[in-house]
Amino acid sequence: MPSLTCAVCRQPRDETTMLIIEPTEQEKATMKRMGEDAPLAKYAYCRPCVRLLSTPMTAVALMKGVAILQARGRGTDLETAEKTAGQFVNKVISKTPSRAS
């Protein structure tokens, strides 16, 4: 059974159960501008992570948590990491189309 690694939890999962996103060239360019050195041709997400990312409450917490973790991993102090992650998440939310619209 072919497996892929989930972009969020890094767990290997059955490829047929995963959500595969292939970013467009425009999206890859945006990702590079945001600091992603080498965007991948495709990103795979497992069902448990997709469920969490589809729920506003857990999606916001997960994005913020990952951003804090990454910042702390680069040596940023906790307070700054939380502040930066909060700004990042607010920016993402402001650019996310509302379901109602």
């Binding site: 497992c46 469920r51 729920t55 857990t58 997960l62 948590g65």
Partner: protein, 205 residues
Amino acid sequence: MKRRLPLLVERSVGQVDTLRQDLSDRFELAVKTNANVSCRAGCSHCCYHPISISILEAIAVYRWLVKNHRWTTGLKKRVQEAADRQIGVSYEVWLLSLIPCPLLNDEKLCSAYEARPLVCRTYFSLGDPHYCHPHRLGENTKMVPREELVKAYHNEQTKVLRRHRLQLTTLPIGSALLLAEQICEGETELSNVDKLIFKEYLDHA
């Protein structure tokens, strides 16, 4: 009225419940006499940490909730939502997503405090609780998990569950409570738990 389960199941639930009470009584005495413990009612950071319990412990918690009229439609909905979110999720993602324990109510208090699982009783903080938040875990976190106590309890439960031919010792708390309801209401048998959780995992993960 409480439905009686098969004698062997009742005996196992009782055995685990007695052990939990015994361990937690001794443990709480030690915590209450420690002036450095900083845990306070209303601080719920550890309720966002992954919580897995055995089906036997879940049955005891479920029965307490029913007996005390706390197993309401609202609570069951929260448990169902938690079960959907928790199944198949890795420990790290569970922490980062801030998935609350379904027993945590709107006032940030435990709906089953008197009957809460042993793992919840054994975590306490000796530092600033601010750092117990899942996003802030690190060197400043002074949570004491009492791993030896939890391990001994886990091993004892494993032995009891093997008598029922069950291999999985703990399940995410949401799924465990839903299965406990099914068992207590006669919709399924204890021996089916592994099969049901495996099916749930296949369906969701």
